[in-house]
Amino acid sequence: MIDAPSVGLVSLFLASILTSNVLLANFLGTCSFISISKDFRSSMGLGIAVTMVIGITSAVCWAVLYFVIKPLGIEYLSFIIFIIVIAGVVQMLEMIIDRFSPSLYMALGIFLPLITVNCAVLGVILFMQIRKYNFPQAVVFGFGSGAGWWLAIMLLASIRKKLDANTAVPAGLKGTGITLITIGFMAMAFVGFSGMIAVQ
C-alpha cells in the first residue's frame, strides 16, 4: 500500500528521542514546554499526557490517513481532519483521566485541553505523513517523539529548579530569557547526535 522507509523500529525510537528530538531538534511544542517547566510535578504529568496523546493520535491519524483521506482523495483537508482527530483524542483522554485519576486531572488543569494546540502533536503527525511511515513505524515514532518531549521537559524542569532560585541573573533575562538560553544549550548538546541515525 505504501513504500515505507526501511528503518528499524528500535533505531526509529532512539532517533525520535535523541537525533530528532521533537523539542530540541525541531523546536515544536515550546510554548507549554517553557510555561509548565516552572513546576517539576506538573512537568512530569504533562510529559506523560503528551506522550500518550502523540502516541495514540499518530496511530489513529495513520488509520484515518490511509483508510479515509487517501481513498476519498481529500488530501487537501488533511490538516483540518488531523486537528479534529487530535481534539477528539484529547477529549477522550481527559474524560478517562478524570474518571480514573482525579488527582492527576486536577494537577494538569487547563494544560490537558491545551495539548490539543500543542504543535508537537500535529508536527509528529505531519512528519509521519511526509515520511510515509507504515503503521508500526507511525506508532513507534509517535510514542518515541512523545517520550523525547517528556525527557526534554523533565530536564528543563530540573534545571529550572536551580535557575528560579538564582537571583543574580540580570533583570532583563529573568524568567523566560534565561530559560530560552538554557534551552539553546540543551539543543546544542543534542546536536552531537546528528547523523547518528537517519530517520528521513
Partner: protein
C-alpha cells in the same frame, strides 16, 4: 583588577602547568598566541560582567580560559578562538550571574559552539608537532589518530601515551593528564568518582561495541586518542556544572563516558566529548533529583509530601 581568591581553581592551574609546557614544545608560538588571545578576551568579558554588579573577576575564569585555549587544533584562526571564549564567558556564565551559578561548563559551551559553527575550518587546522613548532607546515591536514583508526589504520600505543600525534593543542599527552588526574584527586580538587565513572563508562561501551562486532566500532586504543581523557579529568569534574550529591557522580560520569563513545563512533562529528559533557550538564540536576527521591522513601500522596516540609521550615 582584583581577583576572587579560589584555592581549588589554583590547583587546577597547577595541574595544567606541565601540560602547557609540553604544548609549547609541541606547537611553540601557536600555543602562546592562542593562550594570550583567549586569556585577554575571556578575562575582559568576565570583567565587563562583574563590573555591572560590583563583583570580582573569579579565578575560575582563568581555569576556563586555560582549558579552552588548549582544546583546539593548533592552527585555529585566533579570531575564532576570541569569538568562542567571549560566547563562553558571556552566554554560559555571565548571564547566569557569574561563578557558581552556571548550569553548563563555560569552556565546553564555547568549545561546542565553535565546533558546530566552524567545523570545516577546524578540520583543516591540525599541524605537524614537535620542536617548538618551528618549521611546521602551516595548516597541514595531518590525520588525527581517531581519523586513522576510523579508516582502519593503526596508531602505535607508545606514541598515543606520549602524546606524539596530531590533535588539539593540549589534549594528547596521556601520561601528563594521568599525572594531573592523580594530583587533582589527591588534593580532593576533582571528584575521583566522576573521573572513574567516565573512564569506566567509555571503556565498557567501547568494549561492548567491539564484542558485538559493530562495524563502526573503534579499537580500544581510541580511548587514548582524541580528547577523551583530557575531558574526563578536566571538564567533567567541574564542580559547578556537575551534580552535587556524591552518588550522582557515578551516574553522571557513566553518562558522559557512554555518550562520548557513542557520539564519536556513530555521529557525524569526529569527536563526541564536548557534546557528551554538555549532555551530562543537562542531566546533572535531574540526576540529583532522582538520587534525592531514591534516598527518601517515596511518600504515599501529594498532600503528604507538602506537610513535612512545612513543619521543617517552621522549626528553623
Amino acid at each position: 583588577m582584583k581577583f576572587l581568591k579560589q584555592p581549588m581553581m589554583r590547583k587546577v592551574l597547577i595541574a595544567l602547568a606541565p601540560i602547557y609546557l609540553f604544548s609549547i614544545w609541541m606547537y611553540g608560538l601557536r600555543t602562546v598566541a592562542a593562550a594570550a588571545v583567549v586569556f585577554v578576551f575571556g578575562i575582559g568579558t568576565e570583567w565587563l560582567f562583574e563590573r555591572t554588579r560590583a563583583g570580582k573577576v573569579s579565578e575560575a575564569v582563568l581555569v576556563t580560559c586555560a582549558l579552552y585555549a588548549i582544546a583546539f587544533p593548533p592552527a585555529t584562526p585566533l579570531w575564532i578562538l576570541a569569538v568562542g571564549i567571549v560566547f563562553a564567558v558571556a552566554m554560559a556564565k555571565g548571564v547566569y550571574g557569574g561563578f557558581g551559578r552556571n548550569i553548563f561548563n563555560p569552556a565546553i559551551a564555547g568549545r561546542a559552539f565553535v565546533y558546530i559553527s566552524f567545523a570545516v575550518v577546524l578540520s583543516r587546522a591540525y599541524t605537524e608537532f614537535g620542536n617548538f613548532g618551528i618549521g611546521a607546515a602551516d595548516a597541514l591536514s595531518s590525520a588525527t589518530p581517531l581519523a586513522i583508526m576510523r579508516a582502519g589504520g593503526e596508531v602505535p600505543i607508545g606514541r598515543l601515551l606520549l602524546g606524539l600525534r596530531t590533535g588539539a593543542i593540549g589534549e594528547g599527552m596521556v601520561l601528563l593528564i594521568v599525572l594531573a588526574a592523580v594530583y587533582l584527586m589527591v588534593t580532593k580538587t576533582a571528584s575521583w568518582r566522576i573521573i572513574l565513572a567516565t573512564v569506566l563508562g567509555g571503556t565498557l561501551t567501547n568494549a561492548l561495541l567491539l564484542v558485538l562486532r559493530v562495524p563502526r566500532a573503534l579499537p580500544m586504543e581510541s580511548l587514548l586518542a582524541g580528547s577523551f581523557l583530557f575531558m574526563a579529568v578536566f571538564m567533567a569534574t567541574d564542580p559547578v556544572s556537575a551534580p552535587k550529591r556524591q552518588p550522582s557522580h557515578y551516574a553522571y560520569g557513566a553518562l558522559i563516558g557512554v555518550t562520548a563513545v557513542l557520539i564519536r563512533t556513530f555521529s557525524a562529528f569526529p569527536e563526541g566529548t564536548s557534546f557528551a559533557i554538555l549532555f551530562g550538564n543537562t542531566f546533572a540536576s535531574l540526576i540529583d533529583i532522582a538520587v534525592d527521591s531514591l534516598k527518601k522513601p517515596s511518600r504515599p500522596s501529594a498532600g503528604g509530601s507538602a506537610a513535612p516540609s512545612e513543619t521543617k521550615g517552621g522549626t528553623q
